[in-house]
Symmetry: C3
Subunit: 456 residues, 3 copies
């Protein structure tokens, strides 16, 4: 694999970028938000199925193959454990259609993972599909071994508020990486979504209380946040259709109607927007960092959702607004000491137009780095330029990998380090920053900044 990949093409700039990158390439990985399954880490079974490792659970990969005409059924999505035959067939489809990934970061990450973890440097193809399959399967890599090898200091998972977090507790002494849960209450804040009563029951059971009214509901949420904090959580993560936060006059009335199922879509939305203010208040009080990433049209293709479930590649971004939406929340908590609000978006224009100016004034607001559809080199460069030049480096969250693919974590962080090195090298070469400052900034972005923002 080429040493200089992703570094700027201009030789003078590349030389600076290379020096900067070398200085941080081996620093530990801080991963404050992602979707690795803690049960998998607890079980620590060896990976013997390349398809289960690289394809089936990763909608980054499956959506590109699906767009290329390969049905999700042929990739084993939603099928549970695959037979070796089915797994080999799916793997062969990836290798045969390798060209579908050209130009995407998915290709880049996979290539990095193949080489770094499995020593594979050949380009996948129909011809070598089975050989590569065997190479990966025979390696029998184990999750915890990879965690250690990747140098991951901190790894956050994403968890249901009613989760007992037993895997986290069990892992606490067992691995050197700190594995922290993340409080993700979306479903518990949207009362018009089907199944509300059941969710409230589960929440009550987990909190060990009754939830008879709005007050009891708030208390249960606060209780679960304390449980998460006791298990090492540092943040609460929120993703709704929009970013609005607005009080309602009588939340208890809406709460009661929700319990009986007699609540309209609009009322449910009003309640959820009200709860965003409450979530900010709780974060301000208990210290959990609040992360926000609205503006996704989820499960765009109903037939795929019905057959294969959520997170199968058809969550599609749309426009989203932050400036007006967050005004009430920031009026209340924008300068609260210790309150941290990290804003993400998949509408790239919002980063420069709204998030950077907000982060460039409010001490509580940090610009979350580009992720999901924006985690490619071009989108990252656009982010670097448009956010940094408005808000400075100190207002960034540091890199977030947001991945459910364990093996892709170091590849993603490495991409980020290379691109940050390249961007900073450009500032040095145009005399906007001295090289010692660039090095200091890069080191901060990789370790100090995420530690500060996520209070590690």
């Amino acid at each position: 694999m080429r040493e200089d990949r992703l570094l700027p093409a201009d030789p003078g700039t590349r030389a600076v970028a290379r020096r900067l990158y070398e200085a941080v390439r081996d620093l530990p990985i801080i991963s404050p938000h992602g979707h690795v399954d803690p049960g998998m880490l607890l079980e620590d079974a060896p990976f013997t199925d390349p398809t289960a490792l690289f394809i089936t659970p990763d909608h980054y990969v499956t959506r590109l193959l699906h767009a290329g005409g390969i049905g999700l059924d042929r990739l084993g999505v939603g099928e549970g454990p695959l037979t070796e035959r089915a797994s080999r067939d799916a793997w062969r489809l990836l290798c045969e259609n390798w060209r579908l990934l050209r130009g995407t970061p998915v290709r880049y990450w996979l290539e990095t993972e193949f080489e770094d973890i499995f020593g594979i440097t050949e380009r996948p193809s129909a011809a070598n599909a089975d050989v590569l399959y065997d190479l990966i399967a025979d390696r029998r890599a184990r999750p915890r071994e990879l965690l250690a090898r990747f140098g991951i200091d901190f790894l956050a998972t994403t968890d249901d508020p009613a989760d007992d977090l037993a895997p986290h507790a069990a892992l606490a002494g067992a691995v050197r990486t700190r594995i922290a849960p993340t409080f993700r209450p979306d479903a518990y804040l949207e009362p018009a979504r089907p199944g509300w009563a059941g969710r409230i029951e589960r929440l009550a059971a987990a909190a060990g209380t009754d939830i008879a009214d709005y007050k009891g509901y708030l208390a249960a949420l606060e209780n679960r946040r304390r449980h998460f904090i006791a298990h090492g959580a540092v943040s609460a993560d929120h993703s709704h259709a929009d970013a609005r936060a607005e009080p309602v006059d009588n939340p208890d009335r809406l709460f009661q109607r929700a319990l009986t199922g007699d609540i309209t879509e609009a009322e449910g939305t009003a309640f959820r927007r009200h709860m965003m203010l409450e979530m900010a208040r709780m974060s301000s009080e208990d210290g959990l960092v609040m992360t926000l990433h609205p503006g996704i049209h989820r499960n765009h293709h109903p037939a795929t959702f019905e057959r294969y479930g959520a997170d199968t590649g058809h969550d599609i971004p749309t426009t989203v607004e932050f400036t007006r939406a967050l005004a009430p929340l920031l009026a209340r908590h924008g300068t609260d000491p210790g309150f941290h609000l990290v804003l993400f978006t998949v509408d790239a224009t919002v980063y420069s137009r709204e998030i950077a100016p907000l982060a460039g004034f409010y001490p509580s607001v940090y610009a979350g780095v580009p992720w999901w559809f924006l985690d490619n080199p071009a989108a990252i460069r656009h982010f670097q330029e448009s956010v940094t030049e408005i808000a400075g480096f100190s207002r960034l969250s540091g890199f977030i990998d947001d991945t459910r693919a364990l093996c892709s974590i170091p590849a993603r962080h490495d991409m980020s380090r290379r691109l940050d090195a390249g961007y900073l090298a450009g500032l040095v070469r145009t005399h906007r920053l001295d090289e010692d400052e660039a090095l200091d900034t890069l080191t901060a972005l990789v370790t100090d900044q995420p530690r500060k923002v996520f209070k590690l």
Copy 2:
């Protein structure tokens, strides 16, 4: 003319780009969407009027001169055939005001055309205006000779559903280029626009049926699509104020009211959105590729529209939304085998935020390349980066020139090939693609991909 124009400035990247470009520069031109007049090709009269060739019909040129203070009347817009005196005067205005075109692709295309077709390498000016005029007029270029010389394999025109397509039939054996009509039914789908009854009459006459109700209307549209397909059409093209596709409960009721002229603006819009679903259904059934490019505020300046008509340079983009708008259409037809939906926009942010993610999941959806206001090198590079890195190269339509200026076709395709070569060279130089893959990708973009997407 300089060999390396538009190629990346960095010498290492430029060397790769040059190799890539050389390999595709002479490949045939596939032009699946444009506005060349088929009657002109049939008639094949020599071009003796440089103004009629380069200025009057081309709103790309006239709008820039108009913005510079030159009234459209002085350019002969809307005047019919010009006297030589008027033509020379208009031509002189272009040459004298050549600096107004600096930095625009219009200047680049004209420069390329002047040199490649007419051997002109001097910069136009007041001093040489008449000499250049004579050079071009004396060349007496004929449309079909240019078609052949340009190496155009496939050329689509844009046509009214009631058109008999006689020129296409007559040209079928006469030229080596395949000249195909395109079904463009916009006016036949918007019942609140003046003249609806007359249009429906013309449609009925063309289809040889009566249109008494909604059912008859659908049948007539289907009939005309078959007529177009019989004359070689491969696509149906749609441009409305928005991209929304939504069913109405009783389309026949709206259709009846439209026939009597008793339909509101809002009802007309509802009917049109309903018809987008029908158009998708028809495309899914008869195989015509569906192309969509909404979001233009047409005829922005009423006084100019009244005096000079449509397409005179004041169609102005505005915001447009695809994700929510197309959800019902893609729920129905998004995975239909053989259904192709090519999405264009002049709101550049939509390409990365919405179109690329849609094309990166739905096998039917292709990202149409940037055109119109986005057909300049910077917008094209932005598109390359932001769309490719999300959806990969295989989800692109290939280049679309969308021009009514015959002579600009090779210049536009050449610009595209150079920019694609440059972008791919950048991927090679940052080790994201091997050079053999880049070459394969470039060749696909130029010929294989448009052939596949437009089913040639």
Copy 3:
């Protein structure tokens, strides 16, 4: 300070850029819009307080420090003249936190100012804060001396319509720079904002008339515009929540209700949108260039506004629309001879999607250059590419510094000249422009174009 700062990294392109930049670096400065206090120029007291010179009045600087956790009180915002102790403390905070400015244009401007005006080349830090303080204070620079030294030919201030403009009159013969007022009537066009009756009284007093009705109100505005023109004004500047211009049927009814305070928010907005048409009419008649920059959510943080007032760093951009909004205004005045409408935005996507196409057709419309949150190198490059390639260079306003920090004027113009030189050099290196054209274009952007657009 490095000679080549901000010039392109590619050596070949940089060489061209350097030649272009050298040719314009010492041309006079034209500043057609800004916020320098004319009273300060009249008084011409020496600057003995570095904090008052560089920090307190400049929300560019204070917002970045505030985001970094430094309260505005510690920076002396809203405190009036500071004691030397307080001033030194605030200055020290800037120097200690110098790293907060990395990557921002604020850092670049300050660095330029420190070296060019005060000979300071050291990087500010806790260690040298007091030495730098003394260096700046001891220089005892005077405003008029700086004006002359900076080579400012034309400087526009921003003024209240009721202002007598006495400082401008007094300065007329006293300095070589032409100091022109700018008519800024925002508050006089928004009748639902508190204090309307008082404002109308002040307007009447200034105009020397009674304002009993809408007609009298229009006459008073016209009168004040004449007063401004008599004092050298060349433009009227407008910034409202949106860009809409729409007639109301009975403006006098709304005006009467406003006088009694009995007007709703919505009616106030309707009246303001109506008045935008009137403002365009007046500009068309009296020749004042109309500048427009809507789309800011002002005073986002109420607590900060209440304690420190407006312009304290929390005006946050949001989305804005021009195409539909301005259609009625441009239908009436878009081709009026002598009418100039300069459009600015802080929603960068609007420049390419809407403003450039409008400026590329209407002879009255000019694309104002990027400012405020868009005045950084990356945003400026994005603007250059996306606007120029649609509308050409001749549709640009030339650089606007929009600053209230006198010392930053030459630094900002220098940044612009460097970036324009770099962009043009790129066009030369990719063979899109000859070098003589690039030089001619750059000179025009620096002097001829602003002189033409602002009728100097």
